[in-house]
């Protein structure tokens, strides 16, 4: 059987599993739909959280980023795991004790204000849609590369699957499909990593293989070999950073705080039975995440070594099949600047911008696709999209076809599990926070459940549309999601728990200030004046990716000042804070 047939089988089996779980876990009440009834085992919830959290970006893109950025990519590794420490220590147990359904609901109650709830809903919807568009795109890419269907059809199939289990099963359906998806994705990620680690270093554990000696008799470690090879080709050393320390610091902090403030992650901790379960569950979530996140640096380094060896100074005619496959998709391109028919891989961009190919099926004299982009003066001749590294890795390393099929199923699992979690928080924000809490408080549980299902279906439609017609700015706005969560939701929730007297005036002013500042900074550098987007124009040398950290500081500052000049929170709110600080009575919390 060839790789495509195997991929159809693997993807088909995994999809039938998800649908089967969906039918088994249909729900009948809003409590089941929003928080899976509140009795998910902490280890199960940890696994579901890991799948919820690890998106197409973690599975498909991150190792590629590490491969090409080296040390600088540490911001993602520390940022996207360190946030769980904040979540477990500062937010999750108290929000579980509070015991309701959504993040805006907490902010609305704690700050006794519909306005605060609305600000939170707007942040949540913006953050979640930004994120979900990327997932749908990831689904489309996997489908088009491995199943040879149109990207758009791939997105539609992905939407249909999510529709079945999110709309039928709500949080309950999502929880148990996410557990299955975690198993698929972690298996699909680690199996090729173990193979490649064995091939390159002879060590079966990728985490150790990354530090081991390369099995080529040179006596060099993987990282030393990579440092040497890259500096020889004109790149900076793999283990040395190129970003400034303050920028690395700010980006890491923004990603950590943003992670802790992401609504679709926070709500997962509403589903466990007890406060103490919320704490351990966060620990298990990070264990399951760390399995992938400590493997990714090894995958990245091995991929870079393999890429250099199989491409650099190789004539186009002798390049392996994967090179041409990805070239056909426009994610790899080669321009023979010195007319020697041999590929030179060096530092710097090979030509300006992303490759634009001539309309016809025209081929150059070596058989390569013809690019119209103007060449740059650098000696580099290869363009490679970072996102392909994980997907191409098994082929680059020459692994068997079933491993390639497995990676396709894993990429789909990662994208679908995150998309479902995001769609659920969007739908509950609409049906619970807007309809039930703000506009139509009299609707029955059954009506609210129907509204939640309709909202989920609509959200899937919007997400699918964004996947098929991706706004060109998806990549640029990912910084938004974390920056906004860091600058708006996280400080408001944190102060709501750790300051008894923080009032609505302070919290709302803080959220709006953090939000306005962060949005303005990102919009200015990403959209208004992208040509100014460099370190000499940034405030304190902080890039738009890291500006959420300053936004958060501003939020805390403004909130504190406004709080001092307005009346403190009323007594019943201070009692609520007293109550969420102790675990006792959490079982009763869900009865409202």
């Amino acid at each position: 059987m060839d790789a495509t047939t195997l991929t159809y089988i693997f993807v088909g089996l995994s999809f039938s599993l998800y649908i089967g779980i969906a039918i088994w876990s249909r729900v009948g009440t809003t409590k089941e739909f929003y928080v899976a009834g509140g009795h998910v085992h902490p280890v199960v919830n940890g696994m579901a959280t890991a799948a919820d959290w690890m998106s197409a970006a973690s599975f498909i893109s991150m190792a590629g980023l590490i491969a090409f950025l080296g040390y600088d990519a540490s911001v993602y590794l520390m940022g996207w795991t360190g946030g769980y420490v904040l979540l477990a220590l500062l937010l999750a147990p108290y929000l579980r004790k509070y015991g309701k359904f959504t993040v805006p609901e907490f902010i609305g109650d704690r700050y006794y204000s519909d306005a605060a709830r609305l600000v939170a809903v707007v942040c949540l919807i913006f953050i979640s849609f930004t994120y979900v568009a990327g997932q749908m795109r990831g689904v489309g890419i996997v489908f088009s590369r491995f199943l040879e269907v149109d990207i758009d059809l791939g997105v539609v199939i992905g939407m249909a699957i999510v529709f079945v289990y999110a709309v039928l099963g709500g949080m309950k359906g999502i929880t148990y499909t996410q557990v299955a998806q975690y198993c698929v994705l972690i298996f699909a990620y680690t199996v090729p990593a173990i193979f490649i680690s064995l091939l390159i270093t002879g060590n079966a554990v990728p985490q150790f293989g990354l530090g081991a000696e390369v099995a080529d008799g040179s006596g060099l470690t993987v990282l030393a070999k990579l440092d040497g090879a890259l500096t020889e080709l004109g790149f900076s050393a793999y283990t040395e950073g190129t970003k400034s320390t303050i920028d690395i610091f700010a980006i890491t902090a923004a990603l950590m705080v943003g992670t802790a403030g992401l609504p679709h992650v926070i709500v997962r901790f509403f589903t466990v039975p007890k406060v103490s379960d919320a704490r351990t569950s966060a620990g298990w979530a990070l264990v399951f995440i760390a399995l992938l996140y400590t493997t990714a640096p090894a995958v990245g380094a091995f991929a870079r070594i393999n890429f250099i060896q199989s491409v650099n100074e190789v004539s186009y005619g002798e390049t392996p099949g994967w090179f041409k496959n990805w070239e056909n998709l426009g994610l790899i391109a080669w321009r023979d600047k010195n007319d020697d028919g041999v590929i030179q891989y060096r530092a710097g961009a090979p030509f300006e911008g992303k490759p634009v190919f001539t309309e016809s099926e025209a081929r150059g004299e070596n058989g390569e696709r013809v690019i119209v982009n103007p060449a740059t003066p650098s000696e580099n001749e290869v363009y490679v999209d970072r996102d392909i590294m994980v997907l191409a890795n098994p082929e680059i390393a020459g692994l068997p076809d079933w491993v390639i099929a497995l990676v396709a199923a894993g990429g789909l699992a990662a994208a679908l599990s995150t998309a479902a979690g995001l769609l659920l928080v969007i739908s509950s924000a609409v049906s619970h926070d807007l309809l039930k809490k703000t506009w139509m408080p009299d609707i029955s549980d059954r009506q609210e459940l129907r509204a939640a299902r309709i909202a989920a279906a609509l959200a899937i439609g919007v997400a699918g549309y964004m996947g098929i017609n991706p706004p060109g700015f998806v990549a640029q706005v990912v910084a938004f999601a974390f920056g906004l969560a860091a600058a708006s939701l996280f400080p408001a929730i944190l102060m709501g728990i750790f300051s008894k007297k923080m009032n609505k005036e302070g919290a709302i002013a803080g959220m709006l200030a953090g939000l306005a500042f962060t949005v303005a900074y990102i919009v200015f550098f990403k959209f208004v004046s992208p040509e100014l987007n460099n370190a000499s124009n940034w405030w304190f040398g902080i890039s738009p990716e890291g500006i959420g950290t300053l936004g958060m500081v501003l939020n805390f500052g403004v909130a504190t000042v406004v709080y001092r000049i307005s009346p403190p929170a009323p007594a019943h709110v201070q009692n609520l804070v007293d109550d969420i600080r102790v675990p006792a009575g959490a079982g009763a919390g869900h009865m409202h």
């Binding site: 520390m78 147990p93 990282l223 103490s276 760390a290 102790v582 009575g585």
Partner: protein
Amino acid sequence: MTDKKNSSKGTSAESRAAYWKANLSLLGKLLAVWFVVSFGFGIILVDWLNQFHLFGFKLGFWFAQQGSIYVFVALIFIYARRMRALDRRYGVED
């Protein structure tokens, strides 16, 4: 949110305040470790630490891409365990 459950033994205002203080002090210690392994070892001190080696890694690079993550996992489980003990001591477990 039923107040009846909370009025069981050991949940007087003073006892709750003491429980909260113990929690904050534990949080302070664990977050200090969190900060030191990531922002300290992985970012601020990375160049200095890179002169040392561990399992074939430069030490600062190892903290940035591996070590800090292992410490994060340990921190959460330590917190969960210590808090369970605190919950019991102050009679506020759920």
